[in-house]
Every structure is written in C-alpha cells, then in structure tokens.
Amino acid sequence: MSSFVSLAEAAALVRDATTLALGGMTLYRRPLAFVRALLQRAARPRDLTLLCFTAGLESDLLVGAGCVGTVRSCYFGLQDFGFAPMFTAAAQEGKIRVLEETEASIVMGIRARMAGVGFMPARAWQGTDLLKLRPDVKSIIDPYTGETLTAFPALRCDTAVLHALEADYDGNVKLNNNLGIDNELAYFADRVIVTAERFVKKIERATDGPIIPAPAITCIAEAPRGAWPTSCYPLYPLAGGEFLRYIDACNAGKFDSYLSAVLDQ
C-alpha cells in the first residue's frame, strides 16, 4: 500500500545495478523530476539497466551522467528534436550495452512475467536480424501448428517510476491517456514509485486517464511540474525551447554544465 514520501526519499530507493523503468511516452509525461532527484543524490546510481518502452530526455540525462550500464528500449530518441545525443554517442563508443528491443519483445516479455511463465510466443522477428542481435532470444515450434515462433523471455523490473496528474490521500493516482506501457508497469514492477503533480482529497473516476490503485503503488512523492520539460497533458505542453537548449549544449560538448545548471535550479 502506498506511503507518502519526499522526492529525495523516493530517489534513495533505487539501488546500483538494478532495473529501472521510466514511464510515459517519448516526450510526454516522463518522470523528469524523479530523474533530477536521482542525479542530486550524493552517490548517483551506477550500472542501471534502463527499461523504457520508449526512452527520451529522462533516459538521456541518466546515460550522460554515467548511471546506465544497459539500455532496453524499442526507441531511444527525442522525436521531432532528433537523436538523443548522449545515448547516441555512448552507443557508438561502446560505453553502454544495448539490448535491442521492439514493441513485441517488451510487451510479450511483460505479459510472460505477469502470467508467471518463462516466455510468451509471438510471430514477431522471424526472418529479421533481431534474432542474431539477441542470441538470448530463442525460437520455438508451436506444438499445435508446427509454425516457428519467437519465444520472448519474461522481463523483470525492480523499480518503475510513473508521473501522475493527481494523487489522493487514499494513495490512488490518476494518469492521462498517453500511456505507453504505464498500466502494465504498475502491475509488473516489483516496486512502483509515483510522482504526482498535486494531491487531491479524492480522485474522481473519468475517461481521460486511468486510475492506478493504492495496492499497486509503493510510494508517492509530490512533484509539481514534475514532467517538465516533457508535457503533462492537459496541464502543460512540452517545453520545446528547453529541448533545443539541451541539444545545443550536448552538441557543444557541454552536457556536464547543462546538467549542473538544471540540478541547481
């Protein structure tokens, strides 16, 4: 059942060499305040495995700060803003391990875990080079039809972090509808941390976003504008100028000074 903590207390829960999933989708409702709190720790986390359905600025900051050993994502980029500069450089220099993922490998891996089985079969990947890039992923023969299928291995996740529009005093939270895989992360990760724009007395049921109930949540921290500079629809749009400033800083080799300035704010 969820407890209420500060952002710093929530960030202290992430241990070295564990798997961290960051919720939201591309440039939308990403847990940036939580990432900043992680990077403000006296001892920054090391050798994290990032599990992001899509990875964006929140993940690029962690890669640039040297916190990430392995990336698992089907898309790591900044959408209209182009490549994620620190990920791109680190991957090219061989400084991080990339486990090539796709929509199917992540979704089926989560479903396998939630079903309590070792793998989930699907038709994806057959005939492509993905099976060569991921020799740990095996093919199997469907015992009923004889068709060769891909057996996507179950995923696991130590900590998932979701950013919510609201949390209430019963410990429930409300998301918006640009979900990515947030609904799945809430029930699949061992520990679920939620940052919330604000607290309300009681969350009202509505169609503009799902509610994640208190029993699924480990702890909740208040974080107004906690997705900035990504969006938190309908509260605020993405801050395009900040994305451009970030890219310019990285391209000029000034990631460290950009990060210091952001953390000092």
Partner: protein, 270 residues
Amino acid sequence: MDFTIDELISVCIARQVVDGEVLAQGINTPLVMAGLILAKCTHAPNVRFASAIGQGLCQEWGALGVGRSEDMWLGKALLNVGFAVAAADMLPKFHPKEFFRPAQVDACGNFNNIAFGKDYQRPRMRLPGSGGIPDVSVNHEQIYLYVPRHSRVTFVEQLDFVSGLGHAPQRRRGHGPRYLISDLGQFDWHDGHIRLLSYHPGVSIDHIAKKTGFALAIAPDVHETPPPSAAEIRLLREEIDPLGVRKLETLGGGARKDLLRTILQREGAW
C-alpha cells in the same frame, strides 16, 4: 500551381489511402500524417487513425503540431488503450496500413532502422531503434515506405542490419513493402525487386539511378508523377498543416532548426 516537394510527397501518400482503412501513424512522421489527413479530407472520409502518440483510435482530426500534438491524439481520440493493447491486441485485428521511413533500404525492400556500420557493438551511427518494425513487417500485409531525401546513403546494395523484412525468401507470412515514395519518384516491387513507377516533375530517370546504390529497374509505363491539385495544396497549407510541420522531414541543419523554433513558439510550447 506551385508546390514544394513535401507537398508532393504528402499528396502521393494520400493517393495510396483507400477509404475505410485503419491507418497507423508512427513516431515523428509528419509528412505521412499530413498525407493521411489529406486523404480523409478528400476521397477517404471513413479512414481511422491509430497513432503511437496516445495509442488509440481517432476518427476526427486536427491540424499538425509538435509541442501540442496531444491535443489531437488525446483530445480528439475515440479511445486510448495504451501501447501494449494497441500493438498486441487491437491493431493486428485491423490490418492497418503504415508508412515507415527506412534509414537504409535494399532492392528487395528489406530495411534497417538500427544502426549504420557492421559492428553492432560500436556502430558508425547508432539510430533510435526499430520500434515495432521487426514485429509488423514479418506479419502484416500493408507495409509502405517513404524516404524524404533520396540518396545512396539510404538506397543501398547491402544493409548493415535487417530490421524490416522485405520481399525475402525467408518470409513466411505477410507481404513485403507495396510502395515507396521518395523526393525523386514513386516505386513499387515487381517480382521482389523495386522498380521506378514515376519520376517527379523536373527529375530525370538518370538522376534517380545515380542517387540509387543498386541497379534501378524501371516500370514499362514509367511516367511523370501527377502534380498536386490546387485544392490539395490549399488543404495542406491552410487546414491540415498551417504551421508547416511536414517540412521538418525535408529540411536539414539550420533551416530545420529555425522552422522547429518558429513552430514551437507559435504553438506556445516553448
């Protein structure tokens, strides 16, 4: 009627749409979105859009944006289901048509969105990744491709990695790409090999061959690409994409950055 290359590409994409289809829309592909909405505004009023942003189904549309594109994908959606349900459960049922932008494509229509360079551990250029391409390209029937800047960097004899399956002998289901449009011409596949169907106004077949890294086959009835109509151009410029988001895919360098800044400031997403 004057038109620009982004407008011609979007109009050609619109012409590939059949009324009633479900149209999937990936990440950062505004030339495609402009074309799909144009189809809905003209000959295909009953299409529905399924987008990576919002992960649901829209039967209404709104003007293209960058900083406020959720106004359409969340604000006008019929339903939003999340990515897992959209990709694994809902979209396979609808046999969506989808346009992908390959970083490399070969003559058989295999394509690559993983990395440039043979060494996967230390690639010459790491790309953002292949999204759902290795999932749907091996299984679906309606794979379409588009290339905003046609060059030998993209049209190659040999791919570095195959993430999208083309007209390849190892294919067991689905169908290789049906169609490709670039800024130089339109193409289809005949006997598993890409061929030029039409060259855009002002472009020679010779020029296209020189910009292509493999032997170019040419359809017997090759012709000039029919230009956009005045009505199509007006819809694109005034209704569908007054901010010019589609042009982000054909511009590069400083010009692209200037346009992006202007769009974001006009949207109030700064």
